[in-house]
Symmetry: C2
Subunit: 244 residues, 2 copies
DNA sequence: CAAAGAATATGACGACCGTCATATTGGGGG
DNA sequence: CCCCCAATATGACGGTCGTCATATTCTTTG
């Protein structure tokens, strides 16, 4: 994958999203922005911006990699493939979010696959450079506890939904979760600025593409949601909430 | 609940399990045993052993408590109740395991309900005493990162199962997970020393009691498992594995 | 020991949704 | 512009398992 224009300037002639700078990525990370300026400079200097296209695999489950990632622009999903060949998305990482750091900290490598949801930029932070900094930084450890706790909490919520909710409830719940993190209100419209296919949604909801399409199609006909190529818009929050 | 004999001596006249000592509980915790001897003594001195009976609630979701728990003897399950009134167990804490500490660390209180699976002893550790010790202890923070990461990993595994596996596969998977943590090999028998009802299993497998009973009943008829009042025994690992 | 309650067992029925198939639409590339 | 592929839409069918009901067994309590 030839790197596109990474000068930080939006190039209207190019289809690629403009690359953020390494410093921008690190400063946008609410986990890593607790590093000192010197440490941020050191990490930025040793890191590399990488570009991935939609669907591209960053690493596979069980791979050994010498870096962890920070999403700069776009989204990365953490997935597991079942014995039956079905993909399950356990987490979606958006801009500023770190992925793969825990594997570095506990030496377990890559317990899940990391794959780009859309064309994205991410920062590859070398473990070799980062881990000594991590070892000396108590505040970063505290932040990591909090971040990991938050992720555990979200996992518990997902478990609860998967255990008992009907598919439509699960999908509504996912839309609200996405709106919480990546939604923008625009009048009566709640615009989820994540470019997700029905396949992506189905992997998060523990169902099949066909079922996801059916539910979303019905909601579109009812005027409850609207989808465009890069967004999902919640038009009737009340109706979706009432499903829960 | 009147505290039973807590002298540390097994009383054959009593139906209550014998109480461990506070020091035993702390030393058995692979998270808390990284404290210094002085800190362990301080924590033990300020803590109280508590006894709960089967089904008893230690705290409800949303409660505010001034302690976290360490299981001494028995098991505690962390549950959420759905809008439809169904209980979902996200985690099972056994002897030596800490519950509620993350709520203390991040100030979120009790995001889940803690309930005794069987008659159990646990240590109530006052947050007021513990948190200053925690703040000064980098090794404990590192251990907590690891522990929380491990729990997050296990949650991802559960999510994967719930997303796509059939009920029998889910139950088999849960039996193996339990055997991993709490199983003892005895010849060809893998004895899971956790006293779980079909209700408990169903809450962990995201299904109903009736369905759990059907599956387990069938496996008993096939000679694959055997259940007694306090244990589940895997008799045919191969057959259960083949379901996965 | 007897009674009560909890846990387990089982049957009947139907709803949810997965599977398989086919058609249509939308987006990207040449 | 055309072609190809991916994404979405929809139908038919059937399997899994949830729901409701009832019976039996086991455990606990007085």
């Amino acid at each position: 994958m030839a790197p596109p224009n990474s000068s930080g300037v939006d190039n209207p002639m190019s289809e690629f999203p403009s690359a953020p700078t390494k410093l921008q990525v690190l400063r946008a990370s609410n986990l890593l922005n607790s590093l000192t300026e010197d440490q941020i400079s050191e990490v930025a200097g040793a890191s590399h911006l990488a570009y991935v296209e939609r669907g591209e695999i960053i690493w596979l489950t069980g791979n050994t990699v010498d870096f962890f990632g920070v999403v700069g622009l776009g989204f990365v999903k953490m997935t597991t493939t079942t014995a039956a060949g079905q993909d399950v998305t356990t987490e979606l990482m958006g801009p500023g979010q770190v992925f793969g750091l825990l594997g570095a900290v506990d030496g377990s490598g890559c317990p899940q696959c990391a794959r780009a949801v859309c064309n994205s930029w991410y920062l590859k932070v070398p473990k070799r450079i980062f881990m000594p900094i991590f070892q000396e930084n108590v505040v970063l450890k505290e932040h990591l506890i909090r971040r990991t706790t938050n992720r555990l909490r979200n996992s518990h919520k997902l478990i609860t939904r998967l255990s008992s909710a009907k598919v439509d409830q699960r999908l509504a719940s996912i839309l609200f979760m996405l709106a919480d993190s990546y939604g923008v209100s625009d009048g009566n419209r709640l615009v989820i600025q994540v470019p997700l296919t029905r396949q992506d949604l189905s992997e998060m909801a523990g169902t099949t593409v066909e079922t996801t399409i059916r539910v979303m199609s019905q909601w579109q006909k009812l005027g409850w949601v609207e989808t465009q190529s890069k967004t999902i818009v919640i038009l009737n929050e009340g109706a979706l909430s009432a499903l829960l």
